[in-house]
């Protein structure tokens, strides 16, 4: 049987595409409301801290960050190829490493909350 690592990179991409399709617009809307001075109740420090302190919320946040960054990385990789950058292995290494680094940072901050 042919060996391929495609499902490994493509699975989180599809999951990330789905989770960002469902969640990212409303998350942006929430921070946009906060930016415009109509701050949602959740953005009060005590409430946000209490929310992010729960282990289930930490897990959910880390998962959303990982899947969002991974699907971004995968699309960036394809777009680089489309724009004539043919060093795919290098591009793939940089973008996937970036996604993992971002996820690691978020896990580190979540542990400190």
């Amino acid at each position: 049987m042919a060996q391929s690592n495609k499902p490994i990179v493509w699975g989180p991409f599809a999951a990330g595409g789905t989770i960002t399709a469902f969640l990212t617009p409303v998350l942006i809307l929430l921070t946009l409301l906060a930016a415009l001075g109509h701050v949602p109740d959740l953005f009060a420090y005590a409430k946000m801290h209490a929310f992010a302190s729960h282990w289930l919320a930490k897990l959910a946040i880390a998962a959303v960050v990982f899947l969002s960054l991974w699907s971004t990385a995968h699309r960036l990789r394809i777009t680089c190829y489309d724009l004539g950058v043919r060093a795919d292995t290098l591009v793939a290494t940089i973008v996937y490493a970036g996604a993992l680094a971002g996820t690691a940072a978020s896990v580190l901050y979540l542990i400190q909350i």
């Binding site: 469902f22 969640l23 946009l32 701050v39 949602p40 953005f43 940072a105």
Partner: protein, 127 residues
């Protein structure tokens, strides 16, 4: 020598509106990725205490941040619409001899999206 059609390396996607729409969809990832990094930064500030969190909210209110948010919202919506419109192709459901119509599958996704967004807005106390 085989014939190799020459394609401009970068500007090929201006040749057809379909290619432009494809590229627009691909570019949405830049905004979604940047917004996710903004979330990671927010987590960092949240972990550093109330003062850092207040400063983060003040940064959010800057004009550059508002412009970014509006652009990111438009691109994120474009991603959602293109993604849900593809769901009938990705998840075809067969009932007996026939496939469930495309509109039912994508429509179900749109309905869940709307309800989920509304629920999150209510739970976050945006109203």
């Amino acid at each position: 020598m085989p014939y190799v059609r020459t394609i401009p390396r970068v500007r090929w996607f201006f040749r057809h509106p379909r290619y432009v729409r494809y590229m627009t969809r691909e570019v949405t990832c830049l905004f979604i990725g940047a917004y996710t990094l903004l979330m990671v930064w927010g987590l960092r500030e949240l972990s550093q205490g109330p003062d850092a969190w207040r400063a983060f909210l003040e940064c959010l209110a800057s004009p550059a941040s508002i412009v970014f948010h509006v652009l990111a919202l438009m691109f994120a919506l474009y991603h959602s619409v293109t993604w849900f419109n593809l769901t009938p192709k990705a998840l075809p459901v067969q009932r007996g001899e026939d496939f469930i119509p495309d509109g039912v599958i994508s429509g179900a996704h749109y309905a869940v999206w709307a309800l989920l967004s509304l629920a999150i807005l209510v739970l976050a106390g945006a109203f």
